[in-house]
């Protein structure tokens, strides 16, 4: 199959399913709370409704506030295009170099942070300060974790990491700590438990929500879509590292295209159920307790790296 087609299919599938993933995780969490829960399609309706609503822009904000939703969504879309989520070897796959991916995510975080600060309220600044802290301190863990994957696979592009065949990365069991570390990073980067509570109504405790508190209408829709896409991207990435099966490649025929959405949906669904279980089983961490979290994920990544290097020597 054409690499350009692969990338296109991937972006379309990921963006289409991203709201569904958010819907599923909410529904599963509701189930675990003994409730019926919101319709799984609700996020779509929310986004559509927001697109039709008027926008209220604060008089304190500048062009940065108006530019941020585009950049934030663009970085989310870009990460959805380059990483091996639905397909491997797409036209954008060479850009899935770990440093580039980290850079793209950071760029999105930066604009989110800028937008939060631009609203001139205390909450936006609060969310921004926390988000920046989380992003900055998770950076070493992210790099080390990806580096140990690179060591395991011999490739520094994430696409290449999944291309090693066999049982994938897990054929080198020493990547398991790094996988756990990536899980922690994913939770932090996506403003999920135990770093942030996506469902909180308490302004003072928010991270992600506080930064988008001032957005309304279509801009809010872009921001929400961006965070949904980012969540789906991380979820699919984690699932694919554990189970690289079912990825489209340039070798697969056009028929497999039809199965791709199904496979993706199953993978996303599994990840979301897991996420819901994790989130339902713990309290949010104390914000000033986060260094242990950062250090923990860095330590896990370093463990993998050390084990991998050691294994290489033997």
């Amino acid at each position: 199959m054409n690499p350009a087609l692969l990338t296109t299919v991937q972006v379309v599938v990921v963006v289409t399913f991203a709201p569904l993933a958010t819907g599923v995780v909410r529904r599963v969490k509701a189930f675990l709370q003994g409730r019926h829960g919101p319709p799984v399609l609700l996020p779509y309706w929310t986004l559509l409704t927001l697109m039709r609503k008027e926008m209220v822009l604060s008089t304190s904000t500048s062009w940065v506030f108006r530019a941020a939703p585009y950049v934030v969504l663009a970085t989310a879309l870009l990460s959805a295009a380059v990483l091996p989520l639905v397909a491997r070897g797409g036209i954008a796959a060479p850009l899935s170099h770990m440093v580039v991916v980290a850079g793209i995510w950071m760029l999105g975080a930066v604009f989110l942070v800028l937008a939060g600060l631009d609203s001139a309220g205390a909450f936006g600044g609060m969310g921004s300060s926390r988000e920046m802290t989380i992003s900055a301190f998770l950076e070493p863990a992210l790099i080390v974790t990806l580096a140990s994957f690179a060591l395991a696979s011999g490739s520094s592009t994430v696409d290449g990491m999944l291309a090693i065949g066999g049982r994938g990365l897990l054929s080198r069991p020493w990547v398991l700590p790094a996988l756990a570390s990536l899980g922690l990073i994913a939770l932090g980067e996506n403003a999920r438990y135990p770093v942030d509570n996506p469902a909180t109504h308490l302004e003072l405790t928010m991270v992600h929500e506080a930064m988008v508190l001032e957005y309304s209408g279509p801009y809010l829709a872009l921001m929400e879509l961006a965070s949904m896409v980012k969540l789906a991207v991380f979820a699919l990435l984690l699932v694919n590292i554990v189970l690289p099966a079912g990825l489209l490649t340039t070798a697969t025929g056009i028929v497999a295209l039809a199965a791709a959405p199904l496979v993706t949906a199953v993978k996303l669904g599994a990840a979301m159920v897991l996420l819901a279980l994790v989130e339902s089983s713990m309290a949010k961490l104390r914000f000033y307790g986060l260094p242990e979290y950062f250090f923990g994920s860095l330590f896990l990544g370093l463990t993998s790296l050390a084990l991998g290097l050691f294994a290489g020597w033997l």
Binding site: R52, E54, V56, L57, T59, S60, T61, S62, W63, V64, P69, Y70, L73, A74, T75, L77, L78, A92, P94, L95, H97, V99, V100, G103, I104, M106, L107, V110, L114, L117, D118, A120, G121, G124, G125, M126, S128, R130, T133, S135, A136, F137, E139, P140, I143, A147, L151, S155, S156, E203, E214, G217, P218, L222, Y288, F294, L298, L305, L309, G312
Partner: protein, 666 residues
């Protein structure tokens, strides 16, 4: 005319223009002379930029521009290494002079033009001289001139703090210069009139001990000048004190000139420094970067933050330098080349964005009359064009895609990643340190740059003067925008930039499985691809926003205030923004919050008023410097007479020092 001819004409013209500018600047009282000065200051770098570009792009062989007895018969020589640094210097000085033409006129009251104009020209001229010198003596001469003109420029505003900063700077600079003189003396077997060519042979005759001593002295000299910890303390004090376009020159160019010196001397004299040197410099560099980036997040004045950021970037440059040294010694030339390419990329990228940021700081302070983050804010609505340019520069400073600084970081990390496969314990440990350390620094650098931009440009202004600020004139804004664009172009167009560099630019291929890493296809083309992909993603985001059925209706209202009116005292402050950094790294930072609560009536302790201030507890580095600082303050009292504002006196002083240097040398 041949390319070589064009290049030499350009470079010589650049130096001549600088000399003209210096002379014209002396007559700074006359408007016409000042005009001539500014014209020459701009024409010089244009010629120099052209010359060095032609030299590099057409791959001209090393050129001699002629010798003079004034320069001890050592010819001015340009080769690829010096041409690269000349390109960097002229790019920075062009934009700084363009900016300075208006800036110095507007800030006459603060920075007397009769002082600043000639000294700036001398400063540029001496940097050109350092880069062109082929002889040790002329190198030292220009080096001293550079240090001294910078010294006077630092205290140009005549304030007490500036004088202290300048003296601290001078003390360390002279320490360094002394080390350099002694080191060169050892290398030249007692003579300072060696050229770099003869040095290469004479160093071979030295005993290993003497050679090592010389190396230590020379590396110390350049490291202290560049601001490597623990010799960095002067930098965050001195750089912010100078007029902004001079700060831009100091951080953008002078630090690079120091790096040039390091590269020149080591490549000539010690092409085979042992690996331990690489490890030590790498460790020092990483430590410098890590400490500096933390302080960049704590400083609360624009230019101080920028100066700390310069220290951080110099730390990264030393990291890259040390890493490539180590790799080369351990027998991995391809990897070493990659790390070296990253270093050169980073040098240029940093020169562009840091000078741009200093100019931007100058423009903001020019408009808002303060450089304190806690008094700024809201400038994006007052200076929209400047804010776009500075945001670009800040993103570059944060090493975010698709800027040149990001490409440099990418090159280094890729080299470090590939080095993981070398199975050489020394190399692997260094690589892991580079990966973790670089990521730590990168994360906090983003933090610092976001903080810098946000608290200057976003939200509501925090003081009346910030509220009254307006967009600076175009001649102030354009050079800044130019530097931002250059930083962007450096990244996006990096595959085509290779001819401008003294080394081959490349990103190692993504594969790191091969035992001895082979030189894969250059991954540099991914940089423009990334930019294109980013642009495409932005278009897609825009299309989603404009999808059918979505509304464009917009209403303006004040920020949601929870039903209780809010004002600018309720915005996050820069101090507050980085509070988590201060807390998480409290063992390193040691900033102490001092809270004083006074009861309103003594008999009821519960009702009280509070006051708070931060005091920075002196860390290890602080204690190291205290004796020096006290000494300098004592000397400063005596040296107060120096600050008499008579330019002839300064020149006399510079000449006297130079003569002293020569006398010592002879």
């Amino acid at each position: 005319m041949t390319a070589a001819g064009l290049a030499s004409v350009g470079l010589v013209a650049a130096a001549l223009f600088s000399a003209i500018a210096a002379l014209a600047g002396l007559a700074g009282r006359s408007r016409a002379a000042r005009r001539l000065h500014h014209a020459a200051m701009i024409a010089g770098p244009v010629a120099g930029l052209g010359g060095s570009f032609v030299f590099l792009a057409w791959r001209v062989a090393p050129l001699s521009l002629g010798a003079s007895p004034l320069l001890f018969h050592a010819p001015l020589v340009v080769d690829r290494l010096s041409a690269f640094f000349l390109l960097l210097l002229h790019a920075v000085s062009l934009m700084a002079s363009w900016f300075g033409a208006k800036y110095t006129e507007d800030e006459q009251d603060t920075y007397p033009p009769r002082l600043v104009l000639p000294l700036t020209a001398v400063f540029v001229l001496s940097m050109q001289g350092v880069l062109l010198s082929s002889g040790v003596a002329s190198f030292l001469l220009f080096w001293e001139a550079m240090s001294l003109s910078a010294f006077f420029l630092v205290m140009a505003d005549g304030e007490e703090d500036s004088r202290k900063a300048a003296l601290l700077y001078l003390a360390i600079a002279q320490f360094g210069a002394g080390a350099l003189i002694v080191g060169s003396g050892i290398l030249g077997a007692g003579s300072l009139f060696a050229t770099f060519d003869t040095l290469a042979t004479s160093v071979g005759l030295l005993s290993p001990g003497a050679s090592t001593l010389a190396a230590v002295l020379v590396v110390f000299a350049f490291a202290s000048k560049a601001g490597l910890a623990p010799f960095h303390a002067w930098l965050p004090e001195a750089h912010p004190r100078a007029p902004s376009h001079v700060s831009a020159l100091m951080s953008g160019a002078m630090l690079k000139v120091a790096i040039y010196g390091l590269l020149r001397f080591t490549s000539v004299c010690w092409p085979d420094l042992p690996a331990a040197w690489g490890t030590s410099l790498l460790a020092l560099g990483l430590a410098t970067a890590m400490v500096a980036v933390i302080y960049a997040n704590i400083a609360r004045e624009i230019k101080r933050i920028l100066a700390w950021s310069s220290v951080e970037n110099i730390g990264l440059v030393f990291t890259m330098f040390g890493f490539q040294l180590l790799l080369r010694r351990e027998g991995w030339p391809v990897l070493a080349d990659a790390a070296q390419a990253a270093m050169f990329m980073h040098l240029l990228a940093h020169a562009l964005f840091k000078s741009g940021l200093f100019l931007g700081a100058g423009a903001v302070m020019h408009g808002a009359h303060t450089g304190k983050l806690e008094m700024l804010g809201g400038q994006a609505n007052r200076m929209p064009r400047l804010s776009v340019a500075v945001l670009g520069l800040c993103l570059a400073g944060a090493a975010l895609p698709p800027f040149g600084s990001f490409v440099a970081e990418w090159m280094l990390l890729q080299a470090a990643l590939t080095s993981l496969g070398t199975r050489n314990a020394h190399v692997v440990i260094a690589s892991v340190a580079v990966l973790v350390g670089m990521a730590f620094v990168a994360g906090l650098a983003v933090f610092a740059m976001v903080r810098l931009f946000s608290f200057v440009f976003l939200a509501e202004p925090r003081s009346a003067q910030a509220r009254a600020a307006v967009e600076p004139a175009g001649s102030l804004g354009r050079p800044i925008a130019g530097l931002a664009a250059a930083g962007l172009a450096l990244g996006v167009l990096s595959p085509w930039m290779s001819p401008l560099f003294p080394v081959k630019l490349e990103v190692l291929g993504p594969s790191l499985s091969a035992g001895p890493p082979s030189s894969g296809p250059s991954g540099l083309w991914l940089a423009p691809a990334l930019a294109a992909a980013l642009a495409a993603a932005l278009c897609l985001a825009w299309l989603i926003r404009r999808s059918p059925g979505s509304t464009l209706r917009t209403r303006r209202s004040h920020t949601w205030d929870c039903g209780q009116p809010i004002d600018a005292t309720m915005e996050y402050t820069a101090t507050g923004f980085s509070a988590p950094v201060r807390f998480f790294l409290r063992d390193i930072v040691r900033a102490e919050k001092h809270l004083v609560f006074r009861p309103v009536v003594p008999s009821n302790p519960w009702i009280r008023h509070g006051q708070m201030e931060f005091r920075k507890a002196g860390g290890i580095l602080g204690r190291l410097y205290f004796p020096v600082a006290r000494l300098i303050e004592d000397v400063g009292g005596w040296l107060k007479q120096l600050q008499n504002g008579v330019i002839q006196f300064y020149i006399a002083l510079i000449l006297a020092t130079l003569l002293l240097t020569l006398w010592v040398a002879l």
